[in-house]
Assembly symmetry: none
Homo-oligomer: 403 residues x 2
């Protein structure tokens, strides 16, 4: 069954599509600033695209629904996120190039700080650095011991974040988080959601108990919170669904992971904004779809740092000429969701998008690219999963439907 | 099962709805002309409707999907085109008033030019005229001989186009086109997609082989390419789904055909724009839904003739007073899809629509009718299949849903 009529109509050609994704781009006015960061940012290079562009607002999942990073990106990649749920553990595993197998159960963990009554005092263990993380993970791998045929594999991710993978036979993966999402309480016990998940839950509880013993002498990172426990979902490849040969240019593990999960070629991590955008121009031309991911807009939003978000958007704009050396026939500039600085979190607000396609677009007359300008844009307000098919159409990669 | 909630709510009355459909109406700017043909056309009569109208942009199938004529019109008639696929052969049959039976398999054919190695040199046989077409079809019907209980019926359509119908028992219709859509190669062999279609495929291959013998001495039209081989799909009648008694005023075969396929009464072919619009006013008043089809906007788009498209739209506008003599309570002016002159083909761009309904409409403040004006119109951007129910509502033909 197809989620999109577009899947029936693919006609490959050499035209190149680039999705420039500023994570968490959508935002709100902030205090006495009536503009959003995107509206306030000086973006002459983006604005110059508008003469050959159309704009609109997109809902990653549904109106009113705040997406996580997985659903946000699945929408961008033309999937209905409601049909493809991805655990965070799976995403982290893919993002550190961990060779996850279909039968593995993966969970993301946070090192946390526990007091003497085992109550959480810091859910991120004071945001320890990568060096401490690596030392702790080595210590765990050296000391953990299980009487089980199931293998327990622990890996560093970054800062306070890590990955645990259970590799065994017939392990179920239906287990809610043990992270209570608050301080002052104990971590939750892993509880199986079905019979097949009982051995998994038992082993995860053993894992957490042993970890607390092994890390008992650590001052900050002496506990673990598990999140996104699940197996890898079967997701059809984006290159099989749509007529593209896709490549991802993304620095952060999670986004590399989700790009890999949908079957993209993931290129070497490029680094900061300038390096990421320059790297896109070096991608071999046989890749006719590039996903270029900028993380810092979301970080700024999560930090409540309006000014930083404005700066990141302006930095992206300054580096647009470098990206344009990749010669896109269709360039989409958007986000995976909104992360308003005033809310310091992901939100449900629809995401502004710009589609530049000289020669095939109906220019919508927009003079600036911003949330309020987009609300009267030519693309209207659509579910995000339609944006990739619209881009495919503008790249002339879709045949006519019906006679 | 119902595709529309509106189907559950029909309450007939005498109010009349007219859909004035300019085929392929939607367009793009063209070269140094920043306006679309609809925007550039002087349309004082249409503009005068706007004080009591609402506008919007409509997607015939889905955003990004380019519809054929069948899907485009099914959307206008309130059907989800994804649920009702119509073969081109069936459409052509209906369009020439051929009395197609439910068990018939129909295929459209093109006369083509073959070289001595049977390679296609012209897929349309130099676009021969109707007179040559008629002579060739007579020649075929006089000379074709099959040792089969299945009847093979050949009919002219127009220019290089014709129709072949197989009338027999238990004939399957799952056979892809034999038109390879390119020159320099031989026509494809008809290949059955299932067991029931094997006798059909055999007979079609015999038909093509005999035709090439019969036409061997013709200089241009010495071969046949088959397209859209299929049986008539079971489509529920529009008058059964919605509370209307429908009539079609359309000159071109395909549009008369699709109107008949959904169960409309199709009136005598009216001729050019002026005659078509005047004919609508003569339709007996028991028909409370009129589909009025103007082909030439699409022809102008397909020809890449921007100026002609402007002229056709202005001609439609000049004849609007004649159409208004049909006394519509609700008048919808729209297209079945976009056919941008610059692309010379159907496209995916959403279609502008105007709904005039004095007394029941919420006027949206539009001052002109054009693609860019519609993007901020009161109907927003919607799937085309919603437009008929919206018109039914404005004609007060739908009861309240729920208590």
């Amino acid at each position: 069954m197809t989620e999109h009529t577009a899947e029936l109509l693919g006609t490959p050609n050499e035209r190149r599509i680039i999705f420039l994704v500023m994570d968490g781009l959508g935002d709100l006015p902030f205090g006495d600033r009536p503009q959003t960061p995107l509206e306030a940012a000086k973006t002459p290079n983006i604005d110059a695209l508008l003469a050959q562009a159309t704009t609109g607002l997109f809902d990653p999942v549904e109106p009113g629904i705040t997406p996580g990073s997985g659903p946000g990106h699945l929408g961008l990649f033309g999937y209905d996120p409601r049909n493809h749920l991805i655990g965070r553990g799976v995403l982290e595993a893919l993002g550190i190039d961990f060779p996850l197998e279909d039968t593995d159960v993966a969970a993301r963990f946070n090192f946390c700080t526990l007091d003497k009554e085992r109550r959480i005092t810091d859910r991120r263990a004071g945001r320890i650095g990568d060096d401490i993380n690596h030392r702790l993970v080595e210590k765990l791998n050296a000391n953990l011991k299980f009487h089980s045929s199931t293998e327990v594999i622990v890996r560093s991710v970054s800062e306070h974040r890590g990955l645990v993978v259970l590799r065994g036979k017939d392990l179920g993966g239906r287990i809610p988080d043990t992270d209570p999402q608050q301080t002052g309480v104990q971590p939750l016990t892993a509880v199986a959601g079905d019979d097949a998940s009982k051995p998994t839950a038992d082993l995860l509880n053993q894992f957490v108990a042993q970890t607390e013993q092994i890390l008992a002498d650590e001052d900050r990172a002496n506990g673990l919170l598990l999140r996104g426990i699940d197996k890898r979902p079967p997701i059809p490849k984006i290159g099989d669904r749509f007529p593209i040969n896709p490549a991802a240019v993304a620095t952060y593990p999670m986004y590399r992971g989700i790009a890999r999960l949908v079957g993209m070629n993931v290129l070497d991590p490029p680094g900061d904004v300038a390096k990421t955008m320059a790297a896109a121009a070096l991608v071999p031309k046989e890749f006719d779809y590039l996903f270029v991911h900028i993380k810092y807009t979301d970080k700024a939003g999560e930090d409540g740092n309006y000014d930083w978000k404005v700066e990141v958007i302006e930095e992206v704009d300054r580096n647009l000429p470098a990206l344009m050396k990749a010669k896109p026939d269709v360039l989409v500039i958007t986000g995976d969701h909104s992360t308003p600085a005033i809310l310091k979190s992901h939100s449900w607000h629809p995401v502004p998008a710009l589609l530049y396609a000289p020669g095939t677009v109906r220019p919508d007359g927009s003079k600036t690219f911003g949330e309020r300008a987009c609300q009267i844009g030519g693309m209207g307000r659509l579910p995000m999963r339609h944006l990739l098919p619209i881009a495919l159409a503008h790249a002339l990669k879709l045949a006519k439907f019906g006679a």
